[in-house]
Structure formats: C-alpha cells, structure tokens
Amino acid sequence: MARQLTQVIAGFIPLLDSAVLVIASEMGFAEQEGIELKLVRETSWANIRDRIAVGHFDVAHMLAPMPIASSLNLTSLAVPMKAPMLLGLGGNAITVSRAVWSEMEAKGADESGDPVSTGNALSTVISDRKAAGKPPLHFGIVHPFSGHAYELRYWLAAAGIDPDGDVEITVLAPQLMADALATGQLDGYCVGEPWNTASVLAETGRIVTYKQAIWPNSPEKVLGVTQAWAEKNADLLASLMRAISAAANWCAEKGNHFELARLLSGPGLLEGPLELCLPALSGNLRLDQGTERRIPDFLTFAGGERAMPTKAHGVWFYEQMVRWGQATRSAKGLALVEQVYSPERYRAALNLPMPSQMPKIRLFDTPGD
C-alpha cells in the first residue's frame, strides 16, 4: 500500500532557478520524504506574495529579499516571513543593447564581463550622453525588492553612476525584457537566466557583467514561508528542506544538466528552445554571438551547506534596502532580518555542523585583507 503523502503547495515563477522545486517534485525527492509537492505556476512576484500571505501557498520560490521586505512591512499584504533555505546562487546577468555596447566598447569595456571595467566604461558613456543632452538610459529590473535591483544599483554606484539620477530604472516581467530591449524601450536590464541569453541569441543585446562576478556565490532565490506556517509545520518544513536539498544536489550533477535543461524548457515551464536554457546550466555563457566564456559557478544549485542561509546574507540585503531608501535602519529591523535569514531551521533539518565562522560578504570591489 502506498504511503500516505502530505501535500505541500508551492508557488513558483518559471525561471531556471525554479529547478530545485521542479526536480524535488518530479524526480521523487519530495515523495521520498513523504511529501506530495504540488507546484503552482505564477505570473508575478506580487501574486506569489499575495497568495502565500492568504494561505493559498504553503511555501514559495521567492526573490531573496522578499521575505525580508515582507517581515519589515515594506510591501502590501506584509506578513512575518522566513527564508529558511536558499534555492539557488547566482544566475543573473546585466545585458545592454548592441548600441550601448558599441559605445561602451569604444570606452574600453572589458569583453569578458569584468564589473569594474564595464561599469567604468558605462559611466563614461553616460557622462558623454549627458554632455550631449541625450536622454538618460533606461534599465529594467524584475522587482524593487530583488537581487537584480541591488546588483544593478551596486554595480552602477561603484562606477560613480547614480541609479536614481543618472539612469531610469523600471520594473518589467523577466520574459518581456528581451523584447523591450529589442524595441528600444530599454537600453539594458538585470535579470535571471535565460532572459539574458534570449537577447544574445536574438543578436539584440550583450551581457556586460553578471551576478557571480558582482557578488560571488550569493543567494538569488530562497524558499519563502510565512512564520506562522513554519511554526505550525516545523517537521514538514524540515522534511521539505531535506527533499529540496537532495533535489539541488541532483541539479548540481554535471551529467544531469541536459535532462534538467530539457525539463525546464518544456511545457508549463519556460517553453522555449533548449539552447536558451543550456548556457547558464552548463556554465558556458555566450556574452554575445562571438564571445563564449566558461563561468563554472554562473548559476549554482547545491544542497548541503551551500543552501544554508546566513545572517550575513540577510544583513547585506537589508543594507541595500537602507542604502536605496526602501527601509530605515534600526536595531530592531536588523534583529528581525537576522531572524528571517537564520540558518537554524535548515541546519537542524539536515543535521549540519555549526559553521566554524561567519562567511564574509565579499563583493567585486571589497578590498582584500
């Protein structure tokens, strides 16, 4: 007789980094933990936020800063939330139109995606444009509380570009970015794969830098749960995290990349050609038609310790919210954020040792020690 499975409903947005949930559900990892993981595809992060808040979803694929924003009451339908586990590291890139790239290239922008060089080149391009009386460049992000927003802003600001004055930043759904670039509504964007590769394949854009270069091995999506659900279903959440961790290890296996790309490009998910999904999964990125670059950790799925959230991750996101005027710094806020990103639930579920030391947050311009 079949074992009685407990149903868990997970909301997700079809992106490459929904892979671990898809695999946990489809390859039997959830079932092994006694869970029937039911995935519900969504069309916006606002829907994910609303539907987890009203209890339609038990858990959700979320942008890493979202549980923080919700806990700090910075969004509509804000409820206290947790980010007990990371679902993916890296995976984003910044793409600009061919026209902007040719201007950047003339200012000596590095062709292999070095964030210092490309940022400086863009800075010069922007100054020149301003001097010539041209309108500001438009950049797209997927959500104000997202890794994309903070990576783009960090990269711009590091090169002396004011994200709120020198450029215009607007929000657009990820799958619409490539078209917006092609039609000139956007001059550039920061988005998760495969939507950078989409512009490269269409020969309308060029990848100028990427998340793994800006903030190596940083969280991009997390498992989001409301605090109420996590407290009421502690054992179930632990089982779910073990299942997802096992699924993430499966996704990390090189030999599974093709199968993973096939699944993700299929019906109900990305519904696109295989060559759209493969570059980020294999780490062989095409920055433009002619420039291929091997970036092994471009997008990382991994269970075990690597999927463990840390307070430092949460604090970095909080600092960006403060930096860009979304939140006001307070001791209470900081304590709350550390709770949202506490590694404890995950560590206990997987029986992992206490980390020996807090990992340091290092970005591309962090001075060496």
């Binding site: 606002a46 829907n47 609303d50 509509s76 339908l77 104000p144 929000v171 759904a173 799958q175 619409l176």
Partner: protein, 195 residues
C-alpha cells in the same frame, strides 16, 4: 450614487472586462475605462488619472504596475493596494477570485469596498462560466470517444451497441479504470493498428 469616481479596469480578457464594466455601470459608476492593451499603459494611466484601478491577477505586468504606483512620476497621486487589514475576508476573496484593486491613497474605504466586492463577484461568476464551458466541452469530447470505441467493438466483434458498452464498462471495472480511459486506449490502439 457614483460620486464621480473614475475606475480603470485592466484586464486582457475582453469579455471579463466588459462584464465588470457592465456591473460598474449598473451600480451607477459612469466613469469606467477598460484597458486591454499593455503597451503604453503608463502613459494611459497618467492621462486617465483614475481613483480606482481593478486588475486581474493573471496579468504579467502586475509587478511593473505596483512599482510604478509607488515611485513613478507618471502617476500624479500615490496609489496603494486596496488592503484593509481589518477585512482579511475580502482580501482572501479577492485573491481567490483572481482580482486585485489599487486605490488612490486616502480614498475612503466605504467608497471602494462595493467596487471591489462587485469585481470579486463578477470574476467568480466568470470563472464559474468558464469552468462549466470547459466541463461541457470535455463531456462532449468524452461522449464522442466512447461512441467511437463502441463503434470499433461493434464492427470488430460483431456486438450490439448495448453489448459493446457493457464490455467497455466491465473492462473498466475489472481494471479499476474509468470507462473513458478504456475507450481512449481502445481508440488509440485501433488507430495504431489501422483497424
């Protein structure tokens, strides 16, 4: 009493949008604008300058709109999601029905609540209709498949219509499957075998 509120309905589903529009008209709101096209939406909103925005949750532009309401210079007055903490029932109902509403900050909730309630009930009615239509469609398709399977059995085994149906039903019971599933396999198999 409409009190002159201007209401913008953003829904790519034209039929559903007109159903809402009709409902709003019936309730005395004569300043209702429908938008189906997402192109140039920001400019349109800025021109219309609505008091209330009703939007379907399937809309891919929801994140864009929310962000725009918060920061964009294109919107003259701050617009917030219609959330009334005290009324979690209507939040649930709205999300459940697949609709969300945004209002100009400071607008009295008594004025907006009936609009949201109306949108919720119309959205529900619409999904029920769509579901029924889908059911009717499947039912019809199922009946056709069963008829086809019966026909195959009648020709190949020389059975009467009743006998053919009994055979399908018996097979389904023995295999613990639905009649339609047995009929489908039979139709597919006979198609493959060129029967």
């Amino acid at each position: 009493m409409s009190g002159g509120l201007s209401i913008l309905v953003i829904d790519e589903n034209k039929i559903r949008a007109s159903i809402i529009e009709q409902g709003l008209h019936d309730a005395g709101h004569d300043h209702v604008i429908l938008v189906h096209q997402m192109e140039g939406l920001v400019r349109q909103i800025s021109e219309i300058n609505p008091d209330v925005i009703v939007i379907d949750l399937e809309n891919h532009n929801r994140d864009r709109l929310e962000h725009m309401f918060q920061v964009s210079r294109a919107v003259h007055r701050p617009i917030a999601m219609f959330v009334d903490r005290a009324d979690s029932h209507s939040i649930d109902a709205a999300v459940d029905a697949g609709v969300s509403a945004y209002v100009v900050d400071g607008l009295k909730r008594e004025r907006v609540k009936p609009i949201l309630d109306m949108a919720i009930s119309r959205f529900r009615a619409f999904s029920k209709l769509a579901e029924e239509l889908e059911e009717a469609r499947t039912e019809l398709a199922d009946r056709k498949t069963i008829d086809k399977a019966k026909g195959i059995l009648m020709t190949s085994r020389g059975l009467s219509e009743q006998e053919a149906y009994d055979l399908l039903r018996r097979t389904a019971m023995n295999q613990n499957r639905k009649i339609i599933e047995v009929a489908q396999s039979l139709v597919i198999a006979s198609g493959l075998l060129g029967a």
